[in-house]
């Protein structure tokens, strides 16, 4: 088991400051380190330079929308391992499918209470952890072999 040496870093991408800051405040309160971005381009920059553990991605964004940003992050070797959770006010079925097609690992519909969001982040991080453990084990197995 990998020991946590630091708090998980969450990249919050949202063009609506009230929502972004609310979540930021609550997540910091909940013990996460927060990096913020207001559009898709910034999101990619922050994802590259801040090494977040998870990205919360709003989809309707100026400059570059969330779908495109996610596609690029998932196409980039430096960022493709980071789980991306879409957090959007779009409630239609088609939207969640599009998000999954773009590479999102989870889909959260707004309004989403801050405590529920924390729950989702925890689940996502847990999935990554278990996947990492698996990878490591198989890696050890390879070394041994």
């Amino acid at each position: 088991m990998k020991k946590k040496t630091r708090n998980p870093i969450v990249l919050l991408v949202d063009d609506y400051p009230d929502a972004r800051e609310m979540y930021a405040e609550y997540l910091e309160f909940s013990g996460y380190e927060i990096v913020q971005a207001g559009n898709g381009v910034e999101a990619i920059e922050r994802a590259i330079d801040s090494h977040p553990d998870v990205i919360l991605m709003d989809l309707s964004l100026p400059v570059m929308d969330g779908w495109e940003a996610t596609r690029r992050l998932k196409a980039d070797d430096r960022t493709k391992h980071i789980p991306v959770l879409a957090v959007t006010g779009h409630a239609l079925t088609g939207v969640s499918n599009d998000a999954k097609a773009a590479g999102c690992d989870g889909f959260i519909t707004k309004p989403c209470l801050p405590e529920d969001l924390v729950g989702e982040i925890k689940k996502a991080l847990a999935r990554v952890e278990s996947a990492d453990t698996k990878n490591r084990r198989s890696g050890h197995a390879k070394v041994k072999a």
Partner: protein, 737 residues
């Protein structure tokens, strides 16, 4: 006819006689008076040779008398002879006379007083001395070309028979033996020639008669035969020869047939009947040598007795086979003719009926152009009735002229058929009658024109029909134009509708887009409201007092209510926009019920109600839209919980009697619904208590959405409820294919 006794033999015998006489003259002295005188002997030989070379009577006699003048010194002589069958002695030769003085000298042998006739009869030489014209001697002198001079008359005889003529010569010299020899020789020659003359004349006559007979007999088509009593053929006509005579060149078959016929004939003739009666009549079957067929004849035979040729049998064969056949044929022909006549008559009657019953005028014209037959309709046009008005007659004449010009054109041309227009007038009322005339030539087998048959067809009807057709066509065109216009109209309207549909679609799309945007725009601020409220309640910004906490709870619950209203409006809009398509899958009802209960776990726990599930584990798997069924059940269950203050909520699933049907019911022990309100609860925004201070939250859209969803999946929602006694909502699902 055939000759079986050739004539030439007799001629040969006659020649032989002359040669014998010549030989006698040369060698046998008994007949020669001038034995010692060699020059006389030579002269005699000359005479006889002269006779041998001459066969004409006159020529021969003239020669003889010339010889007599030369060797006997007789200056004037003549020879009279009596031809066979004649009663006169005529001059056959003369010497020393002028031809004219002798031309008519002839003596009738019946004139017995004539001394010349007496001399011929008593066969004695007589001398008449010269007389003067006055002497009574004259009476006993015959009248001769010698007139009153002296002359000798020597009867010319060859033997005991009657004299053939008289030799008369002038002079007073005594008769010498030479003259006697001469007379005998001349008599012999003369007799020979006269006989030959008589014979040849008879022969010619006989030959003529015979050839005539032959021609007649040959002309008879029936075979005619003359046979001897043994049946041997003596004479046969041409027809008979084809049956009974065959030459060597002819084929064996034919010769065999001929032999057979001869055999049959002789056996028929040798029958006793003919011997007894001298005649016979019987049938005789012969073979036709030409083709071997049987020929049946009637044989008529008669015995002929002939003194010279003996008994013969004349037979005539009549072809009774032919006769019988001919009779039958004639009868048959007569019968056929009668039949044909009857048929022809019936045919003609029928034809007349037909022709008259044809409404179109029919005219038959002969090769010269004159009318030979008309039917009734034609007569109305071309024939004047008795007592017709002059105008009517004129019209008929005009019609006739029109038709005649058409027919003459037809007759002059080589066309076999001609179609033309003939404009006639109705004789009765003067109405114009345009006709189409169709004429056809009737030809014999040899291609000779016998008649022209013309049929006139009234064109008025056709013209009328053409007019009608034109009108009809116009009407039809009009209709077509209208249809075109209508079609164009429809097309335009279709286009309009299509455009409208497109616009509607666009509007719908815009609406959907608008809804999506609206939903997004509602959610975004609501997110902040609910989020901050929650954070305040949790004391993220520091501890808060109890009254503020209560107020924050109100904010949170109203925010949640607003959110659910937004969600349900969105659902209804999506259903109505057709953006909730049927998504079928197979699923197990118990699993689904478990999921629904789990999802509502927090509400259930808060409500403190007893939730009972009555779902058989082995319930059939159904095929439907899982998401929509789930949404319906969530709604029904949350409603039940909401409207049940205490007691229990039961979810039960049952396989229905109908095939592949499952019902899922949610039964509560809640407040219940009055029966008059059972339908209203499914309407939009209907909660029974509409007062602003109503006891139960909710948008009033839940059941409306449920019913819409049930419609989409082909299901049905029913309610059973009484106020105060709880409610049962049942969803019946049919198994979607």
């Amino acid at each position: 006819m055939r000759h079986y006794a050739p004539n030439s033999r007799r001629r040969a015998v006659a020649l032989r006689d002359v040669a014998k006489a010549a030989a006698m003259a040369r060698g046998n002295r008994r007949f020669s008076p001038w034995v010692e005188s060699t020059p006389i002997e030579t002269a005699k030989l000359e005479l006889l040779e002269g006779f041998l070379n001459r066969s004409e009577l006159a020529d021969c006699t003239d020669y003889a008398l010339q010889w007599l003048a030369e060797y006997g010194g007789v200056q004037q002589s003549l020879c009279l002879a009596r031809r066979e069958g004649e009663t006169t002695l005529t001059t056959v030769g003369s010497y020393g006379f002028r031809q004219a003085s002798l031309s008519n000298f002839a003596v009738s042998v019946e004139d017995w007083r004539n001394p010349l006739v007496q001399i011929l009869a008593n066969r004695r030489h007589t001398f008449f001395p010269a007389v003067s014209s006055s002497t009574p001697e004259r009476r006993r002198r015959p009248s001769t070309p010698f007139q009153s001079t002296a002359f000798h008359v020597l009867p010319l005889r060859t033997g005991s028979d009657e004299g053939v003529g008289l030799l008369v010569w002038g002079g007073t010299r005594r008769v010498t033996p030479e003259i006697e020899w001469f007379g005998l020789s001349l008599a012999m020659k003369l007799a020979q020639m006269l006989r030959r003359l008589a014979l040849s004349e008879g022969d010619r006559k006989q030959e003529y008669e015979r050839s005539l007979l032959r021609a007649i007999v040959n002309a008879v088509t029936d075979p005619i035969l003359l046979t001897d009593p043994e049946g041997r053929l003596l004479i046969a006509n041409a027809r008979a020869r084809t049956l009974f005579v065959a030459s060597e060149e002819e084929s064996e078959g034919r010769r065999g047939a001929v032999a057979m016929n001869n055999m049959l004939l002789s056996s028929a003739l040798s029958s006793k009947a003919i011997e007894e009666t001298g005649a016979m009549r019987r049938e005789l079957l012969l073979v036709n040598p030409v083709d071997g067929s049987d020929l049946l004849f009637e044989l008529l035979s008669t015995v002929t007795e002939d003194a010279r040729y003996g008994t013969g049998i004349v037979s005539i064969l009549r072809n009774v086979g032919d006769l019988r056949r001919a009779t039958e044929q004639i009868e048959e022909n007569y019968r056929k003719m009668r039949l044909a006549e009857m048929q022809a008559r019936a045919e003609r009657d029928r034809l007349n009926l037909i022709i008259d019953s044809v409404a179109d005028p029919i005219i038959v014209t002969d090769a010269s152009g004159s009318t030979s037959l008309m039917n009734d309709p034609a007569e109305r046009l071309f024939a004047t009735r008795g007592g017709a008005a002059p105008t009517e007659q004129r019209r008929v004449q005009a019609n006739d002229a029109h038709f005649s010009s058409f027919i003459s054109g037809m007759l002059l041309s080589d066309d076999q058929r001609r179609v033309g227009e003939v404009n006639l007038t109705d004789p009765a009322n003067g109405e114009a009658m345009p006709f189409e005339a169709i004429a056809g030539k009737m030809l014999t087998e040899q291609g000779e024109l016998t008649a022209v048959v013309s049929i006139l067809h009234d064109r008025r009807e056709a013209l009328e029909r053409a007019t009608l057709y034109e009108q009809l066509k116009q009407a039809s065109d009009e209709l077509e134009r209208k249809v075109h216009a209508a079609t164009a109209d429809i097309a335009q309207q279709n286009e309009l509708l299509r455009r409208q549909a497109f616009e509607l679609e666009q509007a719908s799309a815009l609406k959907s887009q608008f809804l999506a945007n609206m939903s997004h725009e509602f959610r975004t601020p609501l997110n902040a409201i609910l989020g901050y409220t929650s954070m305040l309640q949790q004391g993220v910004a520091g501890p808060i007092d109890a009254p503020i906490k209560r107020h924050l709870a109100r904010v949170a619950s109203n925010g949640q209510h607003l959110l659910s209203i937004i969600n349900e409006i969105l659902d209804i809009s999506r259903i109505e926009a057709g953006r909730m398509p049927l998504q079928l899958s197979k699923f197990k009802v118990p699993d689904l019920v478990g999921e629904v209960i789990a999802e509502l776990d927090s509400i259930i726990r808060r409500s403190k109600l007893e939730i009972v599930t009555d779902v058989p584990k082995d319930l059939r798997i159904i095929h439907s839209d899982r998401q929509k069924v789930k949404q319906i059940l969530l709604n029904l269950l949350s409603n039940a919980i909401k409207f049940t203050p205490q007691g229990s909520v039961t979810i039960a699933a049952r396989a229905q009697r109908g095939p592949k049907c499952v019902s899922i019911s949610v039964t509560d022990t809640g407040i219940g619904i009055a029966s008059e309100d059972h339908q209203r609860i499914f309407e939009d925004f209907k909660q029974l208590d509409n007062s602003p201070t109503r006891a139960y939250g909710g948008t009033g859209l839940g059941l409306s959405i449920c019913r819409r969803l049930a419609d989409i999946i082909g299901g049905e929602i029913t309610v059973r409820s009484q106020p105060g006694k709880g409610s049962t909502f049942t969803l019946t699902l049919s198994h979607n294919r």
